[in-house]
Symmetry: D2
Subunit: 259 residues, 4 copies
């Protein structure tokens, strides 16, 4: 019996949480995953997370929340410091609040999860290749089932990390661009790979935010905080994995459910 994992792409604001409440139960019923994980870096108002929103997501069925560059809201840090089930990317410098990996246990199964952040067009973090490999080797002593959420912008960096960790982890799943890619596959040594799993929230926005404000920003070049649309059709994007007891993934399937 493979370990079944459902991983949901960046949940953006209130519409994202509504999409979770609407679509996640059906997916869970259909797939009966052993573990449900989601990237929650945009879950609170489109930017970061709050304790209340994290609890709302755990209630909705998530076992663990991963994140990325948007997680560092000041007021969230006390909760992040003690949270057992919220990750921030593992390759922030030593001393960063929170933790970058976890081992989930359920029904006698252990799933290791590693959260990493890319550097191309992003911040000057520790090398995600070295940190990722070291954590993978460490976690493998405890479980063969290991999922990596690689939160990154550039396709080249994501693919390179996927190949680099092929055979070392069960899956490398990209987040951050909010657009689901169609390149899911299983690499020769058993690692499932997908450049980006996509997002969960407003379907007709610009990566989950207001279309009009995004267009205005590109036209004027004046920076602004984009808002999450209040209404509109929603979607949930995710990936479903079946991982064998060798740690190799035998099935990777992209999912999209929408209004």
């Amino acid at each position: 019996m493979p370990v079944k994992v459902l991983f949901v792409g960046d949940i953006v604001g209130r519409p994202g949480r509504k999409a979770i409440n609407k679509f996640l139960p059906g997916l869970i019923k259909e797939l009966s995953p052993d573990f449900v994980i989601g990237n929650a870096e945009n879950a609170a108002g489109g930017y970061g997370l709050t304790e209340a929103v994290a609890l709302e997501l755990f209630n909705a069925g998530f076992d663990l929340l991963t994140s990325g560059n948007h997680i560092w809201r000041r007021e969230f840090l006390p909760y992040l410091a003690k949270a057992e089930r919220v990750l921030r990317p593992a390759n922030y410098p030593a001393g960063a609040v929170g933790k970058g990996y976890a081992i989930l246990e359920k029904n006698g199964l252990k799933l290791g999860v590693i959260n990493l952040e890319g550097r191309v067009f992003m911040r000057h973090l520790e090398c995600p290749f070295r940190v990722g490999l070291a954590l993978a080797e460490n976690l493998r002593e405890k479980t063969p089932y290991i999922l990596v959420d690689f939160h990154a912008e550039a396709t080249s960096e994501k693919l390179a990390l996927g190949w680099y960790l092929d055979g070392k982890v069960s899956a490398v799943i990209g987040t951050h661009t909010h657009v689901q890619t169609g390149d899911e596959r299983i690499f020769p040594n058993g690692t499932a790979y997908l450049t980006d799993v996509g997002m969960t929230g407003i379907r007709d926005g610009v990566i989950g935010m207001r279309q009009d404000q995004a267009i205005e920003m590109f036209l004027t070049q004046i920076p602004r905080k984009l808002e999450v649309p209040k209404t509109g059709p929603k979607k949930l994007e995710a990936v479903y994995l079946e991982i064998e007891d060798t740690g190799k993934t035998s099935l990777i399937k992209r999912l999209r459910v929408e209004d």
Copy 2:
């Protein structure tokens, strides 16, 4: 009868051209497109184009070649200056060699093609939104069938342009990231949209280049010119469109053919 267009993603080096020779004839036979277009910015050795490579691609069945940031090889400029069927992005400053749009004519049909380049994480070009809209309105006086190749990095900029041009052109198809996205759709006003069509070339590389060299570059942070692998399985990624005589697209279909 709709106008049928086949648009092929970034052709990378010799393996890309081999993939064209191997897979394109079958696609043409199967789909009998009225127009065959491909992005050739990486067709010569992974970086740019040469006259010989352009002619090879025309012989293989392309009616028009679009491009992007990598087109500006010095030795190619004389050919680019006079080429009728090679585009460079239209939003380079006035005075740039070459041209950024064209109207193809075949079997009494006219297809307008506009090539644009994004600015996020890229160069400081003219605004692709304004240039794109102006060209679209101009071309619409001559034909309702208009395809935009938006060569850009950021998903936000691509989606924003897609929405901005919805109803103004028949399709906005992204290139440059070399990873095919799975978000093809037709927007409410009839514009087909796909964030990225993907690439044509080596299947198991890092966006068409050598895996080992890409990984080494990320690990060492020492810049290097990546090479195209000499051998290995290949793939062709493309998108197929059917555009009605209103200029609205009725069908968008992603394609991937591989060894």
Copy 3:
């Protein structure tokens, strides 16, 4: 009699305004400039400007305030829209609130001032070279005395613009890096040039902001809004120009006054 201009570097927060109140009167007394101009993009709390702060600066003796990338505070836009004596960079796209150049008149003298923003490592604005040259040619029909505030990051872009406008304007003075450079000179065709005039505010901070917070940000890679220190020694950095009636500058002198 040359036209005498005093141009003060980026005024940062309350300490910057205190430095103005403390040091500017002495400079004015000593140099009796015809025109006093300052870059005020950081004058309100380190980020942007407010109407109250602008008025405070006019009262302190400024004839005109220039700015840069930080000017776009939402609540300031109504004032910027009507302000006669506050500039934002001229090379924002058409339709931007405010204006990018002005002609000051005093004692029968006219001084043209053009504000431009660089693009390297910054935003995707209109070409500062083309916009700058066009405005210079336009203003020259009204006065030979023209000052350019080029708010930019990269030394290469600043020097290139300086050379490009040599003989077209009286001076190209850089702002934005908050560190005064020591390369003041008069180019062969009479244009005075200085890569950066420096800043006005806290002397022992990191470009005017809190040392501890800046260091923390570099160490942790977690973004944060830096604050202006409440106390500490202050400095005023500026440049003084004497422009002949040919429009050529005959004297450029860097100034620094500090506690």
Copy 4:
């Protein structure tokens, strides 16, 4: 008797070496420095270094050459691997060819030199703050005289490192922007600081390269390899330091000699 150090800013191409040959002997005669150091990352044709050029510079009087982002020419790596007196930035990842610090010995005096590279707008290297501090503490066990060449773009990162290392090293001298800043000072704990020492080479170019080509590149946005001008007036920019036996610097003086 203080230790006297002369540090020369980025030497750019053949004109840079000519400026060395012309101006360095006079400076050495005038100042009789104990140690002469120069940044040579652009010494060969404007990009990188070669063994022949390194030897030419040693012959001209340099005791040690530092460098920066441009040092990684493939053909230079074998020499860099064994060179005793050429540094590359110390904060490249473990395994990088060459070394990032050295202790020079002359006349019974020891000078520690650390080369670091910034990350803002540059590469994803190890943290220059942590690497710099660790090396400083290490070298201090051997000598109180320690010079840091911080090769970086952003003034904020340079100032922050200067303050961070105040009291830990004798001097933090910036390189890379090729424009000498006018902010030399001695920080409260004895560390001399200068944001950028400037460059050595063609005086009337754009940071040492051809004016016309730089302007063309900004106007067209088409990337090109800039060339070093063949002729024209030259300059040498440098900084002179006197370091007491406490390791504190008592004198910092900017220098510029030009045709």
